[in-house]
């Protein structure tokens, strides 16, 4: 059973769902997010490659649990989904904390305004409630 493939797919779905339905930082609408993912993917080639190259392998994958597709210096294809989920979760949580108007994060950080549609509509609805 290709468990690594299954778990990677599940992780991508879970992280994207968490961002869209729960964390709602709005990162998927921020160009810098996609640029950063692109930059990190470029650096993943040598880093992941060094760890997985079969000539002197550091992280050894059980061939029974992944698709068998290896790209760039023998990195399992699944590693790319794994990296995407890992980085997206971190960025989503990070950006979320910059969007709120609460607490030290906003003041100390100067706030993030990246997402604005949501936080603005939030403010608007709060404002209309108080009227």
């Amino acid at each position: 059973m290709p468990w690594y493939t299954v778990l990677t797919a599940a992780a991508i779905v879970a992280v994207v769902a968490a961002e869209l339905l729960w964390i709602r930082s709005g990162i998927f609408r921020i160009p810098a997010y996609w640029i950063a993912i692109g930059i990190c993917a470029a650096f993943q080639v040598p880093v992941d490659g060094w760890l997985t190259k079969l000539s002197s392998v550091i992280v050894i994958y059980n061939p029974e649990v992944f698709s068998g597709v290896r790209i760039f210096w023998d990195s399992p294809l699944e590693d790319w989904g794994f990296g995407f989920a890992l980085m997206t979760l971190a960025l989503s949580l990070w950006v979320r904390q910059g969007n709120g108007s609460d607490g030290d994060a906003h003041a100390a950080d100067g706030g993030d305004v990246a997402v604005s549609t949501r936080s603005e509509s939030g403010r608007a609805s709060r404002a209309s409630l108080s009227e």
Binding site: S56, I58, L86, M87, L93, W94, G111, A114
Partner: protein, 141 residues
């Protein structure tokens, strides 16, 4: 211990070194927001270490004794624990560096990175670009 045993840890150390200029040259300001950083890293670390624990237990992947230290916490090599700090951290630094350059230009990002503050066009020192970032025209950056 042989030096090859530090290969995995060495790769992690290189990732930290290579991304340091994003903080201290381009003004990503990730290390300089420690509370927010911890609140980001803890859930991410917990989720992916949990996956790692299960994957190692179920023999999804193993680690070369030649290129790892053999130091472990439970069944997880310290290299893996390092990985789940270093990689998300690198992503945050990349993201914030991109955003700083988008907001303030290369020169502004350099000022923020090196001096940790941003001299606004009006000549006021703005703590960390926060005020500048809140200008309406830059809201969607």
């Amino acid at each position: 211990m042989r030096s090859e045993q530090f290969q995995y840890l060495g790769v992690m150390a290189l990732c930290v070194l290579i991304t340091l200029p994003l903080e201290f040259v381009l003004g990503a300001r990730v290390y300089r927001r420690p509370r927010r950083l911890i609140r980001t890293m803890l859930p991410t670390f917990a989720a992916f270490v949990a996956w790692d624990v299960i994957a190692i237990r179920l023999d999804h992947w193993t680690f070369s004794p030649t290129y790892t230290t053999g130091w472990k916490v439970g069944n997880i090599p310290v290299e893996e624990l390092t990985f789940f700090v270093v990689i998300p951290l690198s992503a945050l630094l990349s993201f914030e560096a991109v955003r700083t350059v988008q907001r303030h230009g290369w020169l502004g990002a350099l000022r923020l990175g090196v001096f940790g503050r941003f001299l606004s066009p009006a000549g006021r020192d703005v703590a960390d670009g926060g005020t500048a970032a809140r200008r309406p025209s830059e809201e969607l950056v």
